[in-house]
Amino acid sequence: MTSATLAPPARPRRVRPVGRAQRRVRASAITLITWGLVVLFFFPVAWMVLTAFKPERQAATSPPTFLADWTLDQFAAVFNRDMAPYLINSLTASIASTVLVLLLAIPAAYALSIRPIVRVRDALFFFISTRFMPVAAGIIPVYLLLQGLGLLDNISALSILYVGINLPIAVWMMRSFFSEVPVEIVEAAQIDGARLHTELFRVVLPIVLPGVAAAGLICFIFAWNEYFLANLLTSTAARTTPPFLTSFVDGRGLFLSVLSAASSIAVLPVVIAGWIAQKQLVRGLAMGAIK
């Protein structure tokens, strides 16, 4: 062992000039590979956006058309089909469900992490196991119940179902952030005589705000992107964007560029939100991982 630890200082003197050049070449090679993979993963998205600006007859050609007669016609066509109500429905369902999820999940996560509680693991296990249950398995009664209540095609009903889907994930993610709050702060607040919700809102919340933001973002993304329930439970007034997209697949003609245009618009809000909040996203996911 001693010889091994002593050896390195002797080596560099001879090797370093060659080694540095070699290392630089190797580093550039790795960087190149990295970028190659990045381009590969991003390509379908880029291609979708490019296709959206092509005229229909240049969208699905073999070989692919790279220099098209760029046009905004497809975006005009999408808005002629009145996409706005679908986007508004998606936004309503996503925001409403996210707000409700946070209202329920913040106290729950707090209870599971800061307050001592019996059977933490079981509660947590229950939450995560509800998420394992296929949504499809319980869908028939949900459908028939909503139909009986006249709540099919109702954006509030859809939002509430999204709460059921996202609640476990939110509890799970936030619990780890709440565990980060130093016990001393909570105790200090309690000795202070502050009541419980004051403790929650004024002392703990600012510390865990990034976690709340991350969980909220994840819930928003899942709700915005949800297709199964939206397709099944809405038809007109409350139909959201994902099932609307599939209606661009034309049984009898060309449709690829108009579909790409609609898809580009549909993914834009979440992609931009995700790009801006990627730090929170990474932290949120990572915190969920360790604690």
Partner: protein, 452 residues
């Protein structure tokens, strides 16, 4: 105390936000399905997104102008999605749609279940509507116990389309009534690395793959059931026909059969990537449109290929119907009659061009001089085939139901879908025809037993 109050008011305001969101959602949803405060009616129409229906949406402004107080809201869906969505809504009495486009297969079944509004009186009492002008075989398919339950928007049979240039270049000649053996022979001769000899649907779905395939089965002498509802899905004729079809596709067909349906084949033929295509007569309108097709004017149209029968075309119509659960039945009746009227054909012709007039619903369509002129390449043969089809006995042997490419029982949709999904494995070589049809026979027998 102050702290406490702030916390409480924070909680309260959050609650209010959520509450108003929920209430807002309710109001929004309610507002658009029911009538407005001033008595206006909004009809919700669920339709398949075929070009003819898109034309209808484009022209709905004229209807709304002629009928103040009625607005029409179009929900377009892809055919499979539409079928799932509408069937589920009508079957569960969801009542989300006032007007639906339904196929010829669903109309008699739904009518028997009492799901559709009877349109006999409103059409027969209206001389201007001229209900007797509807194509007799189409109308027969929409009639149950002498009552009419849906109005045809357009109708179609099937025919063989071929690229005349490719046939000329290869020195081949297409007869007006080809046989399947001739067609297979042509296809193999015309097949190159870039061009499919023939495009035939392979996309799973009873309405996709099984539309052309059932007509092949019937002209080979097979069918789904014999006269007493005994399933004959693994009978030799059925097996031979399916083997012929899948072998032909594998030997000389399109490169990716399982993803090929109507659209994909239409693209292949109109981009010069296929020499022949056996499909709906209504495809001709798109093929002859120079904006979408590179082969306009170069395509020939002949009768559906046969083997044991003399004719083999299918019979299909897309129709407008009003679910029993519609909340605005009167307004819906006004609309479905308008969209299937002679006046509407004139409107399409003058506003959008005569070749876009919905075909195959009315006999008089083929007497409009402008239409006959604009569609001279395919209008005469379409009419000829539509009149030759016999939905009561399309195959060699009699059958216990009316319908060509489908069996008019509720179970058929599921049956056809399941077998067509398994046939996808046959195209890929993961399974063989006999195995699939033996399995299909059992399913078909279960469904047949329920009819006895």
């Amino acid at each position: 105390m102050t702290r406490n109050r702030t916390a409480r008011s924070t909680a309260l305001s959050v609650g209010l936000v959520v509450g108003s969101l929920i209430l807002g959602g309710c109001a929004g949803a309610g507002g658009s399905t029911d009538g407005d405060a001033n008595g206006d009616v909004t009809l919700t129409l669920a339709t398949v997104n075929n070009p003819q229906m898109k034309d209808m949406e484009e022209l709905k402004g004229t209807f709304e102008k002629e009928n103040p107080g009625i607005k029409v809201n179009f929900i377009q869906m892809e055919e499979n999605d539409l079928r799932d969505a509408v069937t589920k809504d009508v079957a569960t009495k969801g009542g989300q749609y006032d007007v639906v486009t339904v196929g010829a297969y669903e109309v008699p079944i739904w009518a028997q279940n009492g799901w559709l509004t009877d349109l006999t009186d409103t059409t027969s009492s209206d001389a201007e509507y001229d209900v007797d002008d509807l194509f007799p075989p189409v109308r027969a398919g929409l009639t149950v116990d002498d009552k009419l339950y849906a109005l045809p928007f357009y109708g179609e049979s099937s025919m063989l389309m071929y690229n005349k240039d490719m046939f000329a270049a290869a020195g081949l000649e297409m007869p007006n009534n080809p046989t399947w053996d001739q067609v297979a022979d042509f296809a193999k001769k015309l097949k190159t690395d870039d061009v499919a000899g023939i495009c035939l649907r392979g996309k799973p779905g009873w309405g996709e793959l099984f539309a052309p395939l059932t007509t092949v089965v019937q002209t080979f002498g097979g069918n789904w059931y014999d006269e007493d509802w005994n399933a004959t899905v693994n009978a030799p004729e059925f097996v031979d026909a399916v083997t012929f079809y899948t072998d032909l596709v594998k030997a000389a067909g399109e490169p990716d059969p399982v993803s090929s349906g109507f659209t994909e084949c239409l693209n292949a033929l109109s981009q010069g990537k296929a020499a022949m295509w056996y499909d709906a007569t209504s495809a001709a309108g798109s093929i002859e449109d120079p904006n979408a097709s590179t082969v306009a004017g170069k395509v020939g149209y002949v009768h559906a290929p046969v083997k044991e029968t003399t004719e083999s075309g299918w019979l299909w119509s897309w129709n407008l119907a009003i679910p029993e659960t519609s909340k605005h039945r009167d307004a819906a009746e006004t609309f479905v009659k308008w969209a299937t009227s002679k006046k509407y054909e004139q409107l399409v012709g003058t506003e959008l061009g005569w070749s876009r007039v919905p075909p195959g619903a009315r006999t008089s369509t083929y007497e409009i001089p402008e239409y006959v002129d604009a569609a001279k390449a395919f209008a005469p043969i379409t009419k000829e085939i539509m009149e030759a089809v016999d939905p009561n006995q399309p195959g060699v042997d009699p059958q216990p139901y009316t319908g060509v490419q489908f069996v008019t029982i509720p179970e058929f949709q599921d049956l056809g879908n399941t077998i067509s999904q398994d046939l996808a494995d046959v195209f890929a070589g993961r399974s063989d025809v006999k195995t699939v049809l033996d399995k299909g026979q059992k399913l078909a027998q279960t469904a047949g037993d329920a009819q006895k």
